[in-house]
């Protein structure tokens, strides 16, 4: 065995674990959307005016640190109240986010996505994407239709708000909201409220978190209706990875390297993480906002001539 310690070997651990630009942006975005960290110490949620604005990612507004409103929770509540007031604001905001950023939000800005990716880095055997995961990726569209739109809409007609996804499924709300609040002794009296609903949601949370260790972004790929909603606008979103078709040779290296269930780069399953940019042998993929290139293939540094 070679025992010579080269500089590369010395820095090996750091080289492998150094946060990428995307990871740093994810961290900043998560912090920005949860800037009221004092809320964890106080055991109370933020009540400032910024809560009127929806954040782009899935981030429960009952999280003690949240400074904005969850777009999915806001959408369900807006649908639930639509009998008295049409849901123009939330639909407009979601349309704006979807058109401007699309599923770039999932890959770069969503705090739930960051948690899932960090869990997936734990050293266990991983389940690769396959036909079954690709099939299950359609489940989130069923959840979007049934739990986010149809159930809240029917109960809205009876003037009875039921945010069905938040209430029966959302593990992010359980983790950030319920666990976040209950972990503070100030909220000890809230334990008395807990019953079958909390048990059910806690089991869902534990299952989802466990699944995320083995499956890349399990919640995002199979259950998240917000991702499904943004996925519907994937084709027309302004920001995203784009293929320069004049360079593409159709080798499929991008699809093979992608951990999501995509059929082609930039489709409704693509979270525009940019992993494909570096593996493209033709350097044909770029992360673009219109004509502006935000991330392109790394160009090899030009070797300087030896002065001698």
């Amino acid at each position: 065995m070679d025992k010579v310690s080269s500089p590369a070997k010395k820095n090996g651990w750091w080289q492998r674990h150094r946060p990428t630009t995307r990871r740093l942006i994810q961290l900043y975005a998560a912090l920005l959307q949860n800037a009221h960290l004092r809320g964890f110490a106080d055991g109370e949620i933020y009540t400032g005016p910024t809560k009127a604005v929806c954040v782009p990612g899935l981030n429960c507004y009952s999280c003690p640190a949240a400074v904005g409103a969850c777009p999915l929770g806001a959408l369900q509540n807006a649908i639930a109240a639509s009998a008295s007031r049409p849901a123009f604001y939330v639909v407009g905001v979601l349309l704006l986010f979807g058109l401007a950023l699309g599923r770039v939000i999932c890959g770069w800005l969503c705090p739930a996505g960051l948690i899932q990716e960090l869990l997936h880095r734990l050293p266990t055997p991983k389940l690769r994407k396959n036909r079954l995961t690709r099939t299950l990726s359609w489940l989130k569209y069923v959840i979007l239709a049934v739990f986010v739109i149809i159930i809240p809409a029917w109960f809205a007609l009876r003037k009875f708000p039921v945010p069905a996804f938040c209430k029966y499924i959302c593990p992010v709300g359980t983790l950030e909201g319920a666990v976040g609040l209950l972990s503070n002794p100030v909220n000890a009296d809230r334990f008395g409220m807990l019953g079958p609903l909390f048990t059910q949601k806690f089991v869902i949370l534990a299952l989802v978190l466990t699944a995320c260790v083995f499956i890349y972004r399990a919640f995002c790929r199979f259950l998240c209706p917000l991702g499904a909603l943004y996925g519907l606008l994937a084709r027309i979103a302004l920001l995203g990875v784009r293929i320069d078709r004049s360079k593409c040779s159709g080798c499929g290296a991008c699809v093979s390297a992608c951990p999501m269930d995509i059929r082609r780069v930039g489709d409704h399953e693509c979270i525009h993480c940019g992993a494909c940019i570096d593996v493209c042998p033709e350097k044909a993929i770029e992360l673009r906002a219109g004509k502006i290139v935000l991330k392109g293939p790394e160009i090899a540094p030009v070797k300087r001539r030896d002065p001698s």
Partner: protein, 257 residues
């Protein structure tokens, strides 16, 4: 190599154990709480208390502690993420596009495979549409949502919607199996074709200018629509509704009950 595999297997088992013990702790706390209620004959006795949750978490702590220790050891020894390499899969659709683009005319057997795939796609589409129709008939009937108690509605809803949804997903899975095996057969046919050898590099067809312009137009119109909706929403009090909802803890929404 072997050491990292052992570590990965141990980490996997411990992860599953931690997840299972968390689930078991929640469920047993709930069932114990119900039993206590029944014994006391009081329906107001709390099921969960901070002390009981703390005691139950002490059971989970040893497993979680070992799990955390293994994870930290893996990270420090550089084993972390060792098995988390990007998944690699071959997409027969792309391979097929490449191969068929290298031929002027497809062989008869390949054309037959394509026709077979079209028939399967139509059949699968019909089955999925039928499943969606079955679910929609139930979901769009107001009578099924007449009860104001959502828990009363959720049971029948799951019974009526889950089977068609599961059937549709099974249909998607089965179709993808059949289509991929047909594609593999076609790949075999095309690679055996003598004309395929020595072919030129294939280029993917360019997006037309008209297509790009149309996309920009649609995008612009939708941006305008989004801005108009937001403005209308701010004026009709939709923004205030979001604020009111977000500054109050919705205990039902986060699962507290």
């Amino acid at each position: 190599m072997r050491r990292s595999k052992v570590l990965a297997a141990a980490a996997a088992i411990l992860t599953l154990l931690t997840g299972a013990s968390l689930c078991a702790a929640a469920v047993t706390l709930y069932t114990d709480g119900l039993a206590r209620r029944a014994a006391a004959g009081s329906s107001t006795l709390p099921i969960f208390t901070r002390e009981l949750v703390g005691q139950r978490l002490l059971w989970v702590l040893p497993v979680a502690g070992v799990w955390a220790a293994v994870m930290i050891a893996a990270a420090l020894t550089g084993r972390a993420d060792g098995t988390a390499r990007r998944s690699v899969s071959r997409n027969p659709e792309i391979v097929l596009t490449l191969l068929s683009a290298r031929l002027d005319a497809l062989p008869e057997a390949a054309i037959k495979e394509q026709a077979f795939r079209r028939r399967i796609a139509v059949l699968a589409g019909t089955v999925i549409a039928l499943c969606a129709w079955l679910a929609a008939v139930w979901l769009l009937d107001a009578e099924h949502f007449a009860n104001r108690d959502p828990e009363e509605v959720m049971g029948p809803l799951l019974i009526h919607v889950l089977p068609p949804a599961a059937l549709a997903l099974a249909g998607v899975y089965l179709t993808s199996c059949i289509l991929d095996s047909s594609r593999e057969r076609e790949i075999g046919i095309l690679t055996a074709e003598p004309r395929i050898r020595g072919a030129q590099k294939v280029r993917v067809p360019m997006e037309s200018v008209r297509e790009t312009e149309r996309l920009c137009l649609v995008r612009g119109l939708l941006f305008g629509l989004a801005a108009a909706l937001i403005l209308r929403g701010v004026l009709n009090g939709g923004m205030r509704d979001v604020l009111i909802k977000a500054i109050n803890i919705c205990t039902e929404c986060i699962g507290l009950g």
